[in-house]
Symmetry: C2
Subunit: 315 residues, 2 copies
DNA sequence: CTTTTCACTTTAGTTTTTCTAATATGAAAG
DNA sequence: CTTTCATATTAGAAAAACTAAAGTGAAAAG
C-alpha cells in the first residue's frame, strides 16, 4: 500500500470537485471556505500538481483533477457503503437495554408490550444490572440508570424524578387504630428501607416526619429492610406504613392495592435517566426507545405535594 | 454524503484488519503501535461498536469488523488507483527543466543528447530563466539554480561549485608578449565580467591578483562586460585574458579553444544546485534527471588549485 | 461608470487531533 | 520461573485543522 496524501485534504478535494465550489464543499463538510481552500492547496502541494484552476469567482478542474476525481469519489462512496452495512448489521440483532431490576419488573415490563406494539420490528433484550456497563464493549444499546445524572462520556436524559411517598395497604387504614392525622402515625408500625449505601443523604422517615413538623413522633421504630422488594412486600401485606418510591407505589395506588394516607412526598436528589453512548444516541432504534420511554414516563406524576412544594409555599 | 468517521482512524483500522496485527499496521503506516491502538479505539467509539476482539497477543475481527473491512479496503484501493492514474498522467507530458540560459547553452544542451539516449521515453522541455519559478504552479518539474543553496520549501542538491579561472585564446599565448609568469599579465588586456548584481563579494581580477600575491599589477585595466556571453566571446576572440566560470571554460579548454595560463582559480561562495519541489523529488523522471545531471557534473573537475587549496597549504 | 456582491485567498492564532515515549498487562514460549 | 511478545494506557509534545478577519479581483447591479 503506497503512501497516501492527507485524507482530509482528499475529502475536501472530493467535495469541492463534486460541487465545483469551495463554499458548497465547506457547507457540506461543516467547515469554513478557508479551510477547504487550505486543504485543497495542501493536497496540490503534496501531489505537486494543480487540481483546480481558480477563475474569478468560480473554479474548474484541471486535467489532473478531472482524472482523479472519479476514483477518489468512488473511494468515499465505499466508505459510505461500509457505514450503511454497519447500520443494517446493527438493526439486525435485538435492542439491548439495561436497567435496575426493580424498575424493570415494576415499571418497564408492564409497558413493554406497548413498545412492541409500536415497534414490532425491534426485538428487545433486557439486562438487569446496576453496574454502569460499558456501553460499547458490553454491547448494550441503551440503559436506564438511577443516579445524579452525571455520567461522563455518556449521553443522558432525565427520565423521571424519584420521590418517596408514604403508603400502606388499604385494609390497614380500615382495621388499624385510624390514620387521618399525621400524629396517628405514632400508633402504626413504620417500615424502613435501607438506602444508606446509595447516598448518605437519602431521605427516610426521620426526614419525612421532620418535614411535616411531626418531630415528636419517634422515627426509628418499626422494621428495617435491606432489599427494596422486601419492603414493598411488607407494605402490600399490610405490615405497616412505608416510604416507597413513586415508581413502585404509583401502579399499586392506581390499582387500589395501596393507599397514600398523606399527600406529602420526599423528593430525592438522584433520579432516573435514560443513558446511552454518544455514538449510539442517533441510532434510529435507540432514539425510538428513548423517545418512547420518555413519553411513557410523562404519565408518572406526583400525587401530592413534594418537599420542594412545601418549602416553596413556606417562603 | 453522510458524515464519515475520522479518516485516519479508518485507515488504521484498514491496515490493522488487513494484517490482523496492530504492530504490522503501525509499521506500514510509519507510526507506533500505540497510535494504531488509539485510532482503532477512536473508530470503535465513533461507530459505537467493537471492530476487533483483543486476544492475548493477537487480535481478530468481530462480525462488524469483518463486515466493513472489505468496503473500507476497496475505498483505500480507489485512492491508490487515483494516485497511479496521476503518475501515468505525469509521465505523459515533457519533463520541464528550468536553468540559467548560460548554463543551458554551454553545459546542458551539449550533453542533453546523452540524457535522451539513456531515457528515450522522457521528452524534455527547457525553460531558461533566472526566476525562482513556482515549481508547482508554473508546471516546472526540476531546475538548476545558481545561488547559495538556501531555497526555502524546495529540495536542493549541490551540483557543482563555481570557480573563476583565468583563460585566454591559445593564439594570445603565442602571439602576445608572452605569458609565463604572473607578472606578464601586466602587459595583457584584462577582460572583466560584471557580477556585482549577483553578490557584492563576487570575486574578480582584483581578488585573483591579490590571492596570487601580484597586487602590484593594476587590476582595473581592460574591458568590462555586463553580459557573461559578451565576456566569453571576447576571451574566445583573443581580446585579452578573462576570468571565466569553470562551467563555461572547461569545455573550451578541453577542446583546445582556450588555454588556462595559470592553474589558480577562485572559488565562489555560490554554486549550482539541482532544485525541485519536495512533492516532485520522488517522481521517477525527476529522479532520473537529477541523478543523471549529478553524474554528468562529476566529470567537471577543477584543473588547477583553487583559492581554498592555496589557503589550505599555507596554513 | 461606480458600487456592490460574490467566491476564493491569505494570515495569524487557537483548537483539535495525532503521535510518541514510557510504562503496564497478561499470556505464551523458552 | 523468566523472558518475550503484542496490545493497552497515559501524559505530554508535536502536528494538523480550523476559524475569524481582512484581502483580492472580477462580474453584476445600479
Amino acid at each position: 500500500m503506497k503512501r497516501l496524501p492527507p485524507l482530509k485534504a482528499l475529502q475536501a478535494f472530493e467535495a469541492a470537485g463534486r460541487h465545483l465550489s469551495f463554499s458548497a464543499a465547506a457547507a457540506e463538510l461543516h467547515v469554513t471556505p478557508g479551510a477547504i481552500s487550505q486543504q485543497v492547496r495542501q493536497l496540490e502541494d503534496s501531489l505537486g500538481m494543480r487540481l483546480f484552476r481558480r477563475l474569478n469567482r468560480a473554479i474548474e478542474l484541471t486535467d489532473a483533477g478531472r482524472l482523479i476525481l472519479p476514483p477518489v469519489s468512488r473511494g468515499f462512496n465505499q466508505f459510505n457503503d461500509a457505514l450503511t452495512l454497519l447500520q443494517q448489521y446493527r438493526s439486525a440483532g435485538p435492542l439491548t437495554i439495561t436497567a435496575p431490576a426493580s424498575l424493570v419488573s415494576n415499571w418497564l415490563i408492564p409497558r413493554l408490550q406497548r413498545f412492541k406494539a409500536d415497534y414490532p420490528d425491534i426485538d428487545v433484550r433486557i439486562d438487569t444490572s446496576n453496574r454502569l456497563v460499558d456501553f460499547i464493549h458490553e454491547d448494550i444499546d441503551v440503559g436506564v440508570r438511577f443516579g445524579d445524572g452525571e455520567y461522563p462520556d455518556l449521553d443522558s436524559t432525565h427520565l423521571f424524578s424519584y420521590e418517596l411517598i408514604p403508603v400502606c395497604a388499604p385494609q390497614l387504614m380500615r382495621q388499624g387504630p385510624g390514620l387521618r392525622e399525621i400524629s396517628d402515625l405514632a400508633r402504626y408500625t413504620l417500615l424502613h428501607g435501607d438506602y444508606r449505601d446509595l447516598d448518605a443523604a437519602f431521605p427516610d422517615w426521620t426526614m419525612w416526619l421532620k418535614v411535616v413538623g411531626a418531630e415528636d413522633i419517634e422515627a426509628e421504630r418499626g422494621i428495617f429492610f435491606s432489599q427494596a422488594d422486601q419492603l414493598f412486600q411488607a407494605v402490600v401485606d399490610g405490615q405497616g406504613v412505608g416510604l416507597l418510591a413513586n415508581v413502585m407505589a404509583e401502579p399499586e395506588i392506581a390499582a387500589g392495592r395501596l393507599v397514600q394516607p398523606f399527600a406529602i412526598s420526599l423528593p430525592v436528589r438522584m433520579s432516573y435517566h435514560v443513558v446511552t453512548s454518544p455514538a449510539k444516541a442517533s441510532w434510529p432504534r435507540v432514539r425510538a426507545f428513548r423517545d418512547w420511554v420518555l413519553a411513557e414516563s410523562a404519565g408518572l406524576r406526583t400525587r401530592g405535594r413534594t418537599l420542594s412544594d412545601e418549602s416553596g409555599r413556606r417562603d
